[in-house]
Symmetry: C2
């Protein structure tokens, strides 16, 4: 395998010169273009590829980020991953992918592996889901000054976080229903132990208060399991129906729940959106193809992915300059996506 020595010898300069040229270091500005070109030609001629392993050993920077996901087959994850991948590419970093598979043991082993690889930083993708990471899970990283950013979930310090402004999301979802004219609205709240649940509910209460909209407790149900599911959406909607309290719109915790709700409504002979509007949250890919296509709130997941890379790159630079590492929180604005499951109750009446 051809080394930097070979290149230096062949082009009649020292290894230092070659190194400086190839790394575009500051000093490269003073090297005549002629020398640069000669070296670059030799590089091509010999088919030289810089050995990043040797480089990392010496410079103590691996240009590598660990990327820890909770389930690689989850579309939520992959959408974020896409954003991460694109941004890493731009910054010259490379991801080492680890799938925690929602398992604590695997998580810990992954951290060990990443430590051995001397990653410059870690991106945790929606990883707090079930693991419910305490501050000590990341201690081995933090102790060694390796910056961590969590994307998709807010995490306790000292990790930085990038996540959706859930409050704004539910606020504008409810505003959409309200503007259409809905006043009797049912809600399916998220699981109690998911951090999002509270934030999402806050947005609802905030808007309701401002608009003087009354939230009827008899029209509010909550997911009992640890995560959302089609099944729960279905059953909770049946439960709402059983309560015999009239409502013209339903706001589900997320898209999956909304799908279940729509099925339950159809089952009960209520057509969506003619007799009941439904709105979801997340904008998973299936939402656009559902029957009817689901009105929902989009989370800009890819954007969150690339943002997390930017945050991490900044942190790594701070570490390089021996600055104190401070956690940063970046929040991403969600976006209302109006499709076919919402309409005004006036129209509902006309069509009913």
């Amino acid at each position: 395998m051809v080394t930097i020595q070979d290149v230096a010898r062949e082009s009649g300069v020292s290894v230092t010169t070659v190194s400086v040229i190839l790394n575009k270091a500051h000093q490269a500005r003073y090297i005549p273009a002629q020398t640069k070109n000669r070296v670059k030609e030799v590089v091509k001629k010999l088919g030289y590829h810089r050995n990043l392993i040797a480089s990392s050993l010496r410079s103590k920077r691996s240009r590598t980020f660990g990327v820890l996901v909770f389930d690689i087959t989850d579309p939520y994850c992959t959408e974020i991953l896409k954003g991460i991948e694109g941004a890493l590419y731009r910054y010259g970093y490379v991801p080492i992918l680890m799938d925690a598979q929602n398992d604590r043991g695997r998580f810990n082993r992954a951290v060990e592996t990443l430590l051995e690889r001397r990653i410059d930083g870690l991106i945790a993708v929606a990883v707090a889901n079930f693991l419910n990471l305490g501050p000590d899970s990341l201690k081995p990283l933090v102790e060694r000054g390796i910056p961590v950013v969590s994307v998709g979930r807010r995490l306790a310090t000292p990790a930085s976080s990038v996540f959706t402004d859930y409050k704004a999301g539910t606020r504008c979802a409810l505003e959409h229903l309200y503007t259409l004219g809905h006043r009797e609205i049912a809600f399916i709240k998220g699981p109690k132990d998911l951090i999002d649940t509270e934030q999402r509910w806050n947005g609802i209460e905030e808007f309701a208060k401002a608009a003087l909209l009354e939230l009827n407790p008899r029209l509010i149900v909550q997911i009992k399991g640890r995560n959302s599911s089609y099944q729960e959406g279905f059953e909770l909607t049946e439960e709402l129906l059983r309560r015999q309290r009239h409502f013209t719109a339903l706001m589900a915790f997320d898209d999956i729940t909304a799908f279940g709700a729509i099925s339950a409504l159809s089952n009960a002979g209520l057509r969506v959106p003619q007799e009941c509007s439904v709105i979801g949250f997340d904008d998973i890919p299936e939402a656009a193809f559902y029957n009817p296509p689901l009105t929902t709130v989009s989370q800009a997941l890819a954007l969150q992915g690339s943002l997390s890379v930017e945050v991490l790159v900044q942190s790594v630079r701070s570490v390089g300059q021996k600055k104190k590492l401070t956690a940063v929180y970046r929040t991403v604005a969600p976006k209302l996506v109006v499709r076919r499951t919402t309409m005004t109750p006036i129209q509902q009446h006309a069509l009913a």
Copy 2:
């Protein structure tokens, strides 16, 4: 950061001994348990983590595989990735993930990056899709003796390949319809320039020949675009319907196409499966949740992922032993998944 030197000093042995113990090298058998334990305790006490960068530099093995996907958000890819991830974990390798995003330029840059990182091998996940990789795309790898395995697509030598036995798949799909009693069967063939198309068609012809089943050319249509789509499935089925040639079952190129076909049939007032059975291919996650759930052929994608790792690990070992590198082809048996879109034409009659 604590080094092997520190461990050696603290436990009163040489670095060699520590290295031998930690790597479970052959010689470790002769080291007394007492020494081993002492060293291991020191490792824990000091919080030592072996520096794999230094190790790689010296041993000339990075214990790293490049994993090149064509689109990280594609479920087909992620299912394979899951299998890869699990297997890598078992072998102590780590994946560097690169997304070619169906772009030639990105593909080439990814190869450069992976070369700099001195990957021990490359797994290309369904990457041949549009890039239509010639043998020279992989030349930089092959020249340096870095083994390559393609998973999901058959690739030209010198790369190894792991892929579905498409012929067996279509054969058993057709057999299923035949056994149910169907004799008038329509087919939607795949795009001309996809390699799979021919293999899949071979299976159909093979079974038809053996069963003395006549394939009516008027019941055969072909996808015109470069890839399958819901839209084409829909339109081609309308085309079949327009031909006024009676058929009791339809075999689609893949699941997506089947979805389009089902919509077109429903649109034309033909109920599935009562008036026309439909079978797909791939078993994408949506197939199970479709309405009605789709009978299809499953590809065991995760299995293909882990198999590809096994093939690659074997290749790397061969390289290590300076054996000649030969491409291996492993084919994976598909599996018929019977759900609700197929039934016998007798029943069809009874229910019609």
